[in-house]
């Protein structure tokens, strides 16, 4: 067909796009007004205080307090991500391989703590881990230990509670990815004589890797910004970056000093996203496809 009349389907599509944009615009405005502008304003303050200044950034990059906090934050985030993967993968695998009713039960159990306040969970861990807590008292009752173990008010307690809070962010993307791996592939592997473990290693595991990467990225990035858990369970020594941010507001009495720390962390996170996106499409990390 060679007519000059525009393709009606294209026109229709354009109108639909316009409608979509109109529908989305209130949400966009809210995000712009409540997130983009304030965050931008805070970032601006980090370089502008009675004139342009890089003082806040000089401090972040020269004083070793900051360096130690960033290092500790990345160490904790890595540890949490690793542990969450080790704990989360079998759970997701199980949920994927059992009948539907069971998988719903397993996933509900994963998500259930998610609906409890982070603060409540931090205190619950305190009740379990502290000197007079359930675990220490039980171990002493069994005569396994004579002195209570230092399970909390340190990095250990922080990591335990953080893993607990972030586990759903590992399990859910893993499960979503595993759901999409066709079962026929396993059966094909088996019919060709491969043992179950070989099929798993050669077929299932590689196909689940996008989920692993997605889950790890989510957990790692969320962990970088943890505040209340290390504050309550870290004993004061576990100073993560978010705590530096809050401390700097008090210490320097201006937002710029705190904002610079946040900007550096944000850039760090963006860098991580950038590196990860070289290996995997970001859409998948964010659960779009």
């Amino acid at each position: 067909m060679t007519t000059s009349v525009p393709d009606p389907s294209q026109k229709h599509q354009r109108r639909e796009h316009g409608l979509m944009l109109a529908l989305v615009s209130p949400a966009l405005l809210v995000i712009l007004a409540l997130i983009v502008l304030p965050v931008g304003w805070l970032a601006w303050q980090s370089i502008y205080h009675d004139g342009f200044t890089l003082e806040n950034y000089r401090r972040v990059f020269t004083e070793d307090v900051y360096w130690r906090s960033f290092a500790l934050t990345f160490e904790i985030s890595l540890a949490v991500t690793g542990i969450a993967l080790l704990l989360g993968y079998p759970v997701a695998y199980l949920a994927n391989s059992v009948p539907k009713g069971w998988s719903i039960l397993i996933l509900s159990l994963v998500v259930l703590p998610f609906w409890t306040s982070v603060l409540v969970r931090a205190y619950a861990w305190l009740a379990l881990l502290q000197r007079t807590g359930v675990i220490n008292q039980f171990l002493r009752y069994l005569d396994v230990i004579s002195e209570p173990l230092a399970l909390v008010h340190n990095t250990f307690g922080t990591v335990v509670a953080t893993v607990h809070i972030l586990l759903p962010f590992m399990v859910l993307p893993l499960y979503a990815t595993m759901q999409k791996i066709p079962n026929d592939l396993m059966q094909a592997g088996a019919s060709l004589g491969a043992s179950p473990s070989l099929t798993f290693m050669r077929v299932f595991l590689p196909l689940s890797l996008p989920g692993v990467l997605a889950g790890c990225t989510m957990v790692f990035v969320l962990c970088l910004g943890f505040y209340i858990t290390p504050e309550l369970l870290g004993g004061g020594r576990t100073v993560m970056v978010s705590m530096l941010v809050s401390r700097n507001v008090e210490l320097y009495n201006q937002f710029g000093a705190a904002s610079a720390v946040a900007v550096v962390l944000l850039l760090g996170v963006l860098a991580i996203f950038f590196v990860v996106s070289r290996f995997i499409s970001l859409d998948r990390v964010l659960g779009q496809k």
Partner: protein, 348 residues
């Protein structure tokens, strides 16, 4: 003190009601404190009686940490608050930065009659609390630790310890542990204090950040002794926990009243300031909460019974055992440098 809970909404509503009915009839001010049981106690003991006596309306607001709000309000050029009750250090710092009005004590006779250590050019002591040495009576049924030297003596007093994750009062305690007399602390020998703190650091289980946390640590037996605010310890003791504290070598701290620079009702605010530190109103405060009056004359009014007075941090005999915090030192450059040094001490 920063953990007192908000009940600002209720107050704001009450204030708004008061505003519509009495605004054109009477003078008014907006008063800001830290909320919670503390602000309620003030309302009964000080604010309502003052409003009645002066014939003014006191609109209340509350905020756990007033400092950032003071900065923004005054910075905007049109503050809405008049009088703020906030840790004395902020009043001083605010005064130096031009955020707080300089007081004319000739118009505030009640404050002028107070000892000089209880006021400064920008503010007047409003109430006292103390950073004290608290301990578990289960661990120490007798021969309890009674000084910061005892707290530092891990051989004679074995047990788990906690300190506040903040240099204010903690450096003072370290120096007293090292033998400095409570009245000879200032200017603080910061190097010496940090050296002494390095000594106890391995034996500190928790560096607490909030008053609630310090109470929980003591209540659950998570630590055997710690530095804590007297009101927090007595609250835990009232709940039945076997805990106690000593005022010996406590660090006496205060919040003060100050007036925002360019406050909308400056003259009424000054009148209120004078009334708020009136000895009788002040004497009523400890009848409702475990804080001591900011005006020591309150103890001469007869309103506070002797057995109650003995429990209060600013009662003269108790005050004599303690160190009076110098907010002037803490807001000096040396004090600010010490505060910044704390972070690197903690993370080493």
């Amino acid at each position: 003190m920063t953990m007192k809970r908000k009940f600002g909404l209720g107050c704001a509503l009450l204030g708004a009601v008061g505003l519509t009915t009495a605004a054109d009839a009477a003078e008014q001010i907006t008063f800001v404190s830290q909320g919670g049981a503390y602000q309620q106690a003030q309302t009964v003991a000080i604010l309502d009686p003052s409003a009645k006596k002066l014939g003014i309306t006191i609109n209340q607001d509350s905020i756990p940490d007033a400092w950032p709000a003071i900065k923004t309000q005054v910075g905007s050029g049109k503050p809405i608050w008049d009088v703020v009750d906030t840790p004395t250090g902020y009043c001083l710092r605010g005064g130096e930065q031009g955020l707080i009005e300089k007081l004319d004590f000739s118009k505030i006779p009640n404050a002028a009659a107070m000892p000089e250590a209880y006021r400064n050019p920008y503010s007047v002591s409003y109430e006292f609390y103390s950073s004290v040495l608290a301990y578990s009576q289960k661990t120490f049924p007798k021969d309890a630790p009674n000084s910061w030297a005892d707290f530092w003596d891990v051989k004679k007093f074995p047990g788990r310890r906690a300190l506040r994750n903040h240099p204010i009062a903690t450096l003072e305690a370290a120096l007293m542990a090292d033998g400095v007399a409570p009245d000879k602390l200032y200017p603080l020998d910061v190097d010496r204090a940090f050296r002494k703190l390095e000594e106890i650091k391995p034996h500190i289980t928790v560096w607490w950040t909030s008053g609630a946390q310090s109470a929980q640590l003591l209540n659950d037996g998570e630590v055997d002794m710690e530095m804590a605010w007297n009101g927090r310890v007595s609250a835990v003791a009232k709940e039945g926990a076997k805990v106690a504290y000593t005022y010996n070598q406590g660090i006496l701290q205060s919040t003060s009243l100050c007036i925002l620079k360019g406050a909308p009702n400056l003259e009424t605010a000054v009148k209120f300031l004078n009334e708020a530190v009136d000895p009788v109103h002040q004497a009523n405060l400890p009848l409702h909460i475990d804080y001591g009056p900011g005006n020591p004359k309150a103890f001469e009014t007869g309103v506070i019974k002797p057995e109650r007075a003995a429990q209060l941090p600013s009662e003269p005999a108790n005050a004599a055992k303690q160190a009076l915090m110098s907010y002037a030192w803490w807001s000096s450059p040396a004090g600010e440098a010490a505060e910044k040094r704390w972070a690197s001490f903690m993370q080493k």
